[in-house]
């Protein structure tokens, strides 16, 4: 059935969709938010690893709604649930760890600062850090961010302090500070989208140690489900429809976006007409929706006359290592080891740009230090290994006992994932999900400079870990990608021949269609991008409200 036309229909309720819903609702526009997943309440968030982390509470089952993934265009696709973020109201901000970094000014003009890189499609952004900065302020204030800005060589300019003071940290943070100081580097407090004090009617953090992979039962984690969505609903102008899977965006004869066709919770097709349609379903899923929205006007997919929708897909380059401290051996010399405080919250950004061009490109990244995640099944699966190197029986139990006697400090690298012509999203018409919609197919073709920079950063992080004199340092890897951090696919720019969106995230080819999630980003930056996606959404909202009000 067809619903009455509204001013704005937003597809997705995460970091991209929620700020727009809030600001447009506040400005008095009638907004419908279509969310594919359920609307969980705080009481639904329990510390049950099987439910939260191992089944389809957040992520779809790979045989019901696969993403096809391959490394290189010649490899065969594997069905997986890689590159999904949580399917529920709030999206990926529900199960995020909440590392709320900003980009640096250099991220907005990577190409003009560092030069072109053969084999990549690196481009400058059509906006500067200074243009986005007020909206970083706004996103931090609306969502609630706890942090402390300290000077370091790559510190981005800020107009003022964080809305909330930093969270309490584990004593190991001091040890990291000392180690970095001795190396001539700067360990800086990691800003978190978690409340250190009560804020806007929300409770502060209970320090339960289960942030990432879990929803927050106290509402202290600043997911849009706890912050922006309730505020948007309170305007009285925003209607949230969970269980609504968008199938296509329809166009009228003039080539303007007309409506969203979606399947409701009972699988019945519904049509929601709107004057403006905003796609905020993640970089992968937004591209998929546009590519599946074919018409005689747009035979290659909506807003895709250029053929660029789905190109320039970016994740975040991943690497990491862990330091293992045997508690029984070390606790007398280091009583702090057994302190149960969950947060380390230390970052090192001294290598945000590399000291020289030894690896071909001078972009480095960020090291984030944390205690390893306490999920016991996750840990034990890792201890058991697999295949010929896997173990079982007494060996496995010995490893489990050693684990019990350990505290594991790790760092994770967020490094530049350079855009390449070979890394993209397409749709695979022959493979459909449980809704009967062709699925997203992801091809990865990493640039070697990514791996070189990621390895360099991992080696620097290991220098820090070794200074803490642990029993053992174990490298996790240098060639991974963090696929819940996703960008590109509908790059923004001033030139319609080389970008899908204009600088306001409006499609060059469809005047009332916007794509507002990570898709707009021509480069991913070397930090988790959640805050940037939210800040940009506030920026687009500011523009839209002013435009619509004339």
């Amino acid at each position: 059935m067809s619903h009455a036309q509204v001013d704005v229909c937003i597809i997705g309720s995460g970091a991209g969709g929620a700020p727009l819903a809030l600001e447009l609702g506040r400005a008095g526009f009638k907004v419908v938010v279509l969310e594919k997943g359920r609307h969980y309440q705080a009481k639904d968030f329990v510390h049950d690893e099987i439910l939260n982390s191992r089944r389809n509470f957040f992520m779809p089952l790979p045989w019901e709604e696969p993403h096809l993934v391959r490394h290189g265009a010649k490899a065969r696709y594997e069905r997986s649930n890689v590159a999904w973020t949580a399917n529920c109201v709030g999206g990926g901000t529900v199960h995020m760890s909440g590392f709320f970094y900003r980009l640096k000014p250099v991220d907005f003009r990577l190409r003009s600062t560092l030069g072109a890189v053969p084999g990549t499609t690196v481009a400058d952004w059509p906006i500067s850090y200074e243009e986005l900065a007020p909206f970083y302020d706004k996103a931090e204030a609306e969502m609630g961010v706890s942090g402390q800005a300290v000077p370091h060589p790559f510190a981005e300019p800020r107009s003022g302090p964080y809305p909330l003071p930093p969270l309490d940290v584990h004593p190991v943070a001091n040890e990291i500070d000392k180690a970095c100081s001795a190396l001539g580097w700067h360990a800086t407090p990691t800003a978190r989208g978690i409340l250190s004090k009560p804020y806007k009617g929300r409770a502060s953090c209970a320090y339960c140690a289960l942030c990432g992979s879990y929803g927050c039962e106290t509402g202290a984690k600043s997911g849009t489900n706890a912050s922006l969505i309730p505020a948007a609903l309170a305007t009285g102008n925003v209607e949230l429809r969970p269980g609504s899977m968008a199938r296509s965006v329809e166009v009228d004869r003039q080539g303007r976006a007309k409506s969203v066709v979606y399947l409701d919770a009972d699988g019945v097709a519904q049509e929601q007409p709107a004057k403006i349609i905003i796609v905020s379903a993640t970089a992968v899923e937004s591209a998929r929706l546009l590519l599946n929205s074919t018409s005689s006007r747009f035979p290659q997919g909506l807003a895709n006359g250029s053929g660029l929708v789905g190109k320039n897909l970016l994740f975040s380059s991943f690497g990491g290592s862990r330091a293992i401290f045997r508690t029984s051996k070390q606790k007398d010399a280091r009583p702090w080891l057994t302190d149960p405080a969950p947060f380390v919250n230390r970052s090192v950004q001294d290598f945000y740009l590399m000291p020289d061009a030894r690896h071909g490109f001078r972009k480095g990244g960020t090291l984030g230090f944390m205690w390893s995640h306490p999920n016991p099944i996750f840990a034990a699966v890792g201890l058991a290994g697999s295949g010929k190197t896997g173990v079982f029986g007494k060996e496995l139990k010995d490893r489990m006992r050693a684990y019990r006697d350990s505290r594991i400090l790790e760092f994770e690298v967020y490094a530049e994932f350079l855009p390449t012509p070979g890394t993209s999203v397409t749709v695979e018409p022959g493979v459909k999900d449980k809704y009967g919609i062709p699925v997203a197919a992801i091809t990865l073709d990493r640039h070697p400079a990514d791996y070189a920079a990621t390895r360099f950063l991992v080696e620097r992080g290991e220098e820090v870990l070794l200074r803490l004199d642990p029993d053992h340092v174990e490298r996790v890897g240098t060639q991974g990608e963090t696929t819940i951090l996703q960008h590109g696919t509908c790059r923004f720019g001033d030139d319609a021949a080389t970008s899908v969106l204009d600088k306001h995230c409006r499609a060059h080819e469809v005047p009332n269609l916007y794509v507002v999630d990570g898709s707009f980003m021509p480069s991913g930056g070397s930090v988790p991008s959640t805050l940037t996606i939210a800040a940009n959404s506030f920026r687009v909202a500011d523009h839209l409200v002013r435009t619509l009000k004339g």
């Binding site: 993934v69 696709y77 594997e78 997986s80 339960c208 140690a209 099944i377």
Partner: protein
């Protein structure tokens, strides 16, 4: 449809898991061959009758009493009782019996039973007796053969299922039927350092939430 039989080296299961550490402790479910699906998805059967019973009289939902004995024996070899409790102490096999009835896991249910039958056949041909009746050393020998089989083979896939479900049953919330007396959590130290207020509240019913929330309605 394009689907690799095995993960390419760069996308091995291990890196697959490690790559997801950003949201910490989040793992793909059971990848690879678990995606195998028959063209006609079997309708979720709602068992009204127990499929059997354990020696202690607990009704079974997935396994026959015979199959249950094989699963109990195999899981005990993966997590044997030594100075600390093992799989049987934690009721790991009962967990597997229960979890395989979850809606949406029909393919895993089928794969597990097929793998279990293959394990039993192999025990009969190698040892002339049931896996459950074989000596522990023989059971270990056979499990190692399955574990070391080429990635993508039915044997390797079954071992992965068995190991993963055993660890879930050993270390998951007790409301799912395993981790009896929280013995798994004690072994891994989940009840001590850095884990204040981490377990679900008393009276929590995980399987019920899985049924209701997992539906993604």
């Amino acid at each position: 449809m394009a689907r690799a039989r095995s993960l390419p080296p760069r996308l091995s299961r291990r890196t697959f898991i490690q790559r997801l550490t950003f949201f910490g402790g989040g793992v793909v479910l059971l990848g690879g061959a678990a995606c195998k699906r028959s063209k006609e998805p079997e309708a979720a059967k709602k068992p009204t009758e127990p499929t059997g019973a354990t020696a202690s009289g607990q009704p079974l939902r997935t396994f026959s009493a015979f199959e249950y004995a094989v699963v109990a024996a195999a899981t005990e070899r993966l997590l044997p009782r030594d100075e600390d409790p093992g799989a049987q102490d934690a009721d790991v096999a009962l967990y597997i019996d229960r979890i395989l009835e979850t809606q949406g896991l029909e393919a895993m249910h089928r794969d597990f039973l097929q793998g279990l039958a293959a394990l039993e056949r192999r025990a009969q041909s190698m040892f002339k007796k049931s896996f459950a009746q074989a000596e522990p050393a023989q059971q270990d020998e056979l499990l190692a053969i399955f574990k070391d089989s080429p990635a993508g083979s039915g044997e390797a896939h079954f071992f992965e299922l068995l190991m993963t479900l055993s660890l879930e049953g050993f270390l998951g919330d007790p409301s799912y039927g395993g981790n009896k007396g929280r013995v798994g959590w004690r072994l891994m130290g989940f009840d001590t350092v850095g884990t204040i207020a981490m377990a679900p509240p008393e009276g929590y019913d995980g399987p019920k939430c899985l049924r209701e929330c997992g539906a993604h309605k």
